[in-house]
């Protein structure tokens, strides 16, 4: 009887210590990126990606779903609730398991992201607080949650597995992303070559702001054709101003472009890179990339 009471007392203190450790370490730095400390709450507040953009050249790939990271505020909230319930000898149900899963998921995200960004020994960059959070999360699940040993192991594993798997899927998606085929892309603007040149020559800054990185269909009379040895064809639209438009059509379209000659009226579609002054030509080129002949 005495040993059972003693064991319950010990268990209660362990639960309180684990929950308190989880709560406190959440607000401490977990990882070092260069000279920047990234705390456990940084992902929930949005600071995580602000620091990563500044220090690691990595911004949030999906800013529209940043609100989902607010769920990690449940870690300190649940830890506080568990402390209260433990101190008042009340049942805690699934709360310790949920807090532990969220905590281990968050740690996994930090480790995975740091490894992706820095490709170095991540464990050296993790702080004592990160290790404390990990130990507290595992301890909370083991000493506080209900269920048998296998069930508790399941709770410990599920968070990191889900977080790591999701991270890898997102990483693969981002690294595998390519530009949409220009032929299939919806044009942002359709303009005559003379009008496009007119806009740039009258207000270069405004035109760059408006057209840079936009898909534009340009129609006009070809002024010059340059055929390269690798079958790439460059088409130019030149007028009386010191501006000209320069499209480079890939060699895969050589069969369509090889017969184009100066004086032909054509439609070309591409991604506008904006204007750039050339000292060699004393002219300004309006360059396009990923260009293709456009069927009207």
């Amino acid at each position: 009887m005495n040993s059972t009471v003693q064991m319950n007392k010990t268990k209660k203190w362990l639960q309180l210590v684990m929950a308190a450790s989880l709560l406190v370490s959440f607000f401490l730095p977990w990882v070092m990126w260069d000279d920047s400390k990234v705390s456990g709450y940084a992902l929930a507040t949005g600071d995580f990606f602000k620091i990563s953009e500044r220090k690691l050249d990595l911004s949030n790939p999906f800013p529209n779903i940043s609100f989902t990271f607010l769920i990690f505020w449940l870690i300190p909230v649940l830890a506080a609730v568990i402390i209260f319930l433990t101190a008042t000898d009340r049942k805690k149900g699934l709360l310790p398991s949920i807090a532990g899963v969220l905590s281990l998921s968050l740690i996994t995200i930090y480790v995975s992201f740091t490894d992706f960004a820095l490709s170095t020994n991540v464990l050296k960059l993790m702080t004592l607080a990160a290790w404390l959070q990990t130990a507290a999360a595992i301890g909370l699940i083991f000493f506080t949650s209900d269920g048998n040993f296998l069930k508790k192991i399941g709770w410990i594993i599920i968070g990191p597995v889900f977080a790591f798997g999701s991270f890898k899927i997102i990483e693969k998606y981002i690294m595998g992303e390519t530009h949409q085929d220009t032929n299939k892309s919806k044009a942002d603007y359709t303009l005559k070559a003379t009008d496009l040149i007119g806009e740039f020559s009258s207000n270069d800054t405004a035109a760059n702001t408006r057209y840079r990185e936009k898909i534009i269909i340009v129609d006009g009379v070809v002024s010059q054709v340059e055929v390269q040895y690798d079958s790439t064809v460059n088409l130019k639209f030149i007028d009386t101003t010191k501006y000209f438009i320069n499209f480079s059509i890939d060699k895969t379209e050589f069969e369509k472009t090889k017969n184009i000659k100066p004086g032909d009226l054509i439609f070309v579609k591409g991604s506008c890179s904006g204007s750039s002054y050339s000292m060699i030509l004393d002219s300004t080129s309006i360059d396009f990339k990923r260009s293709t002949l456009h069927k009207q």
């Binding site: 460059n234 890179s273 060699i280």
Partner: protein, 180 residues
């Protein structure tokens, strides 16, 4: 700065008046900064402006930074942003130099000739002396130029975590091709 631009403009304007001076607006500059950890940092610009004076050996190239095309949109965005090439502030890569011993290249006779070029390469506002070797091929009145070389990013004050993490090569391979 205005005097420098004026000097260049006069130099090239006078040059182009003569047939010995040739220009192109379809030269290609490709760079490959891939590593075993990342196959994405490579790009190509096919609207590079080139100039050559076959008499004096003067040569020049200008490549608009924003017209380098990457396969991955995110990498393209990073390449142009302020912490990398900062293309808003430094819109061009330029090279101005001279072909050494240009009289050894017979520009009017079909053939392939080794060439060495020396000059100043400017990347992200930093100008450094630069030399490279290439091949000049003359065929049916056209002059084709190919040069392959490496550049050290650190020489042009280009650094970042991606380089430190081994995801971007410290010395990307560059290939320049032009047909005059």
């Amino acid at each position: 700065m205005k005097k420098t631009i004026l000097a260049f403009v006069l130099f090239f304007a006078v040059s182009v008046l003569y047939a010995q001076k040739k220009t192109t607006t379809s030269a290609t500059v490709a760079f490959d900064a891939t590593t075993p950890k990342d196959a994405l940092p490579k790009a190509e610009n096919k609207t590079v402006i080139g100039f050559v004076d076959i008499k004096t050996g003067d040569v020049a190239f200008e490549a608009a930074v924003k017209n380098f095309s990457f396969s991955n949109p995110k990498v393209q965005e990073h390449f142009n942003n302020a912490s990398w090439m900062n293309s808003d502030q430094f819109p061009k890569f330029t090279f101005i130099g001279k072909i050494e011993k240009v009289n050894k290249i017979k520009f009017t006779k079909d053939g392939t000739y080794d060439a060495k070029v020396k000059g100043m390469l400017t990347v992200k506002g930093v100008s450094k002396p630069f030399k490279a070797e290439g091949l000049v091929t003359v065929l049916a009145g056209k002059i084709n130029v190919v040069a392959n070389f490496n550049i050290k990013l650190a020489d042009y004050a280009i650094s970042g975590q991606s380089i430190e993490a081994g995801k971007v090569s410290r010395e990307p391979k560059v290939t320049v091709t032009a047909q005059f």
